[in-house]
Symmetry: C2
Subunit: 193 residues, 2 copies
Amino acid sequence: MAEAIPISDCRFRVLTLSGSLRSASSNTALLEAAARLAPPALSLRQYYGWGALPAFNPDQEGQAPDSVLAFRDALRSVDAVLIASPEYAHGVPGAFKNALDWVVGSGEFIHKPVAAINASGRAVHAQASLLDTLTMMNADVALTACAVIALPTNRLDAAAMLADAAIADGLRRVLAALHAHLLGKGSDGAGMA
Amino acid sequence: MAEAIPISDCRFRVLTLSGSLRSASSNTALLEAAARLAPPALSLRQYYGWGALPAFNPDQEGQAPDSVLAFRDALRSVDAVLIASPEYAHGVPGAFKNALDWVVGSGEFIHKPVAAINASGRAVHAQASLLDTLTMMNADVALTACAVIALPTNRLDAAAMLADAAIADGLRRVLAALHAHLLGKGSDGAGMA
């Protein structure tokens, strides 16, 4: 029988979701930068397909279209989710919330470790609303890994973010906190404060 | 020169928006019932097309697709908007919020009288979030016309709602309050408390 791999040597798969579809989105770039800074224990992959999901209709929940099934599969295949979302009109971008609506009933977020970072310290309504929705979905919100990585301008790409010591350091802290959360979870809460 | 029509004789056009795409939606039925109960001074018309709007992308705001242009035209053509929305996962249905996101920048809700009714007394998060978003969009929220019309079951159609004295009375009060708000606005606030 193979010896069990210690939990500290595990590699965790993390799906990243940007709440913005803008091609030059700061949130998307922030997640790209996070992927490049990730420690060996975390493997980050960004999911870009959620913008193609149709409007959620509870009548269609059981016969969801392929775009929805692909989103559900992507969520099921990972150990954690890292979100970076802007705020639109004091709320979560509607289309991003729509993607979440499609997986409330199917349950992919139940007990799933999730963290939400924010590129703006002013996106208070959207951040609060997003955490509330994720909690309602029974996600395992890793609050220690939820942080604002305030950007000095919204014109930085991922390379510029990596070159900025404060941003890179902020992202490393988020990733370390998410990793610690996953380890704590894996070892039955032993690492949790 | 034609004599001016007294404001009290004006007929106001009201666009109604249900936040649910379910075919048997209580919110949709509630708005259908409201349309049939409307006093002569109010003309209600339901807009069903918002579910076809693509995911909002700020990059495309200036070259919005036809479905978005039709939604903007419908909003511009009315004197007020009446919304009835369910709550999904402690928030406004994402697809409905997505429709609002498309008109933040184009401004159709600026100073537009809007009321939001609710078919459930438990949809507190969605109602609060919707009013917050509408206020952020500089809509003229008619709070006196915002009410819960609690339904005894979610299986009533519009005809059954009209046959229920409590529901019909609740809808009449909402419509009277919206009418008063529009008259108050039209007469330069003279009717406002």
